[in-house]
């Protein structure tokens, strides 16, 4: 299934960000999740010794989802920034309400597993950031 097919019925709106524009800002509160439709974006995180690029997202990548599925449902603080890279980026802003409904329709066990996976990714990413520059 293509990303367009997967997103059918979930797109609240589409947005275009210019090169280097900040789509999601680390530390800010936010409930929207996004999917990249065109272009690329960098995932960056602040560390003691400056910004570190953790990932480069391309078409089909979803981001901002941690805010929806973590334990602090909906109260999520953005754990990293996502910044348009190598030109403009077109993103789909996802219907958070519907995604949360889908999530809450899962069994409590499965909700816990999804939240835990998000938590583990966060924990390992944070650790990578504390180690990244301290060792070099």
């Amino acid at each position: 299934m293509s990303i367009e097919e997967l997103l059918k019925g979930y797109v609240a709106k589409e947005e275009i960000y210019a090169d280097k524009a900040v789509i999601v800002e680390e530390g800010a509160k936010g409930i929207w999740a996004y999917a990249i439709l065109e272009g690329r974006a960098k995932v960056k995180k602040r560390t003691a010794k400056g910004m570190v690029t953790l990932d480069i997202l391309e078409k089909g990548a979803v981001f901002g989802e941690m805010a929806l599925f973590s334990k602090e449902k909906g109260q999520g603080i953005r754990s990293a920034s996502v910044i348009a890279a190598h030109g403009p980026v077109k993103v789909a802003v996802l219907d958070s309400h519907r995604l949360i409904q889908d999530f809450e329709a899962l069994s409590p066990r499965f909700q816990a597993i999804v939240a835990s996976t998000v938590g583990s990714l966060k924990a390992v990413t944070d650790k990578v950031c504390t180690l990244t520059l301290s060792s070099k």
């Binding site: 997103l7 990548a61 989802e65 599925f69 996976t117 301290s134 060792s135």
Partner: protein, 281 residues
């Protein structure tokens, strides 16, 4: 993976902490409850296991071995879940982290095969996002495995990744198997060099290599230097890894050469799987 394979694998892993579950398959659907005392190892990095745990009472520390040290990654508590990577990677990928009871605790144990049915029925977009998160976790986990904590650099002399000592921070995390196979190896930055040695023991974390003294003349073997190694395991599976020297002992017992303790810096999924099978007791 079929259910049958899972239980076979558990039977092979007689020393795995998860064996305390006692025939999980006979209790499908009624969540098994386990109690652990403070300090008990619940889940061991490098092992294979199908269980996902939910904490009913108590606190659990999650640890990862990075650069020879056990680093705390997270602390989870009542209502939290851990070991969830078993959902996708029961048989093909070892546990990425260890879990130890920080307090006496009571856990509920879920078997991944029960939960996979629900995974299959997830709404497609949610499933896609969840899968993406899992893939990102696996990748980040690989990144961190290549890193070295700062503390280790300062105290290189005190760290013994191959220590035999049981209990405490230097407890060996991986089961190590003795063997005696020939291997060729070369420094990472010299693609044309070709050295030979005998692998004397191996684990998922590293290996012990015996080399003739003349190798030292052909190429420096100092601590921290990374080499490519090629060998064929006694079970017929090829293994190509990169590993760094963590310890050198001049004058190995049998050959008058050197003994070199090495830690893997890179293992492909395939190699890690082959090695995992070879290491099963």
């Amino acid at each position: 993976m079929s259910v049958g394979e899972t239980s076979t694998r558990l039977n092979f892993r007689a020393n795995e902490p998860e064996r305390t579950m006692k025939n999980p398959m006979h209790k499908a659907y009624s969540p098994l409850r386990l109690e652990y005392d403070k300090g008990d190892l619940i889940m061991k990095e490098g092992d294979y296991g199908p269980s996902i745990y939910k904490i009913r009472r108590g606190k659990v520390g999650i640890f990862k071995r990075i650069g020879g040290q056990q680093l705390p990654m997270a602390e989870v508590t009542e209502g939290d879940v851990f070991g969830e990577t078993a959902l996708f990677h029961t048989g093909d990928r070892p546990r990425p982290m260890s879990a130890r009871a920080v307090e006496d605790c009571e856990l509920e144990v879920w078997h991944s095969s029960e939960l996979l049915k629900e995974y299959d029925k997830m709404p497609p977009l949610l499933k896609y996002i969840f899968h993406q998160t899992s893939v990102r976790f696996v990748r980040m986990n690989k990144v961190i495995e290549k890193m070295t904590p700062q503390e280790e650099k300062k105290e290189t002399a005190k760290i013994e990744p191959f220590s035999e000592k049981q209990g405490g921070a230097t407890q060996r995390l991986y089961y190590r198997k003795k063997l005696d196979v020939n291997c060729t190896y070369r420094p990472l930055n010299s693609p044309t060099a070709r050295l030979e040695g005998q692998i004397k023991d191996i684990s998922l974390g590293g290996l012990g290599l015996e080399i003739p003294a003349k190798n030292l003349l052909n190429s420096p073997h100092e601590q921290g230097k990374i080499f490519y190694l090629d060998t064929v395991l006694p079970n017929g599976k090829p293994l190509s890894v990169s590993a760094k020297i963590v310890r050198i002992e001049k004058e190995a017992q049998s050959t008058g050469g050197c003994w070199v303790g090495m830690e893997f810096t890179h293992l492909t999924d395939e190699d890690s799987k082959n090695l995992g099978f070879f290491l099963m007791p």
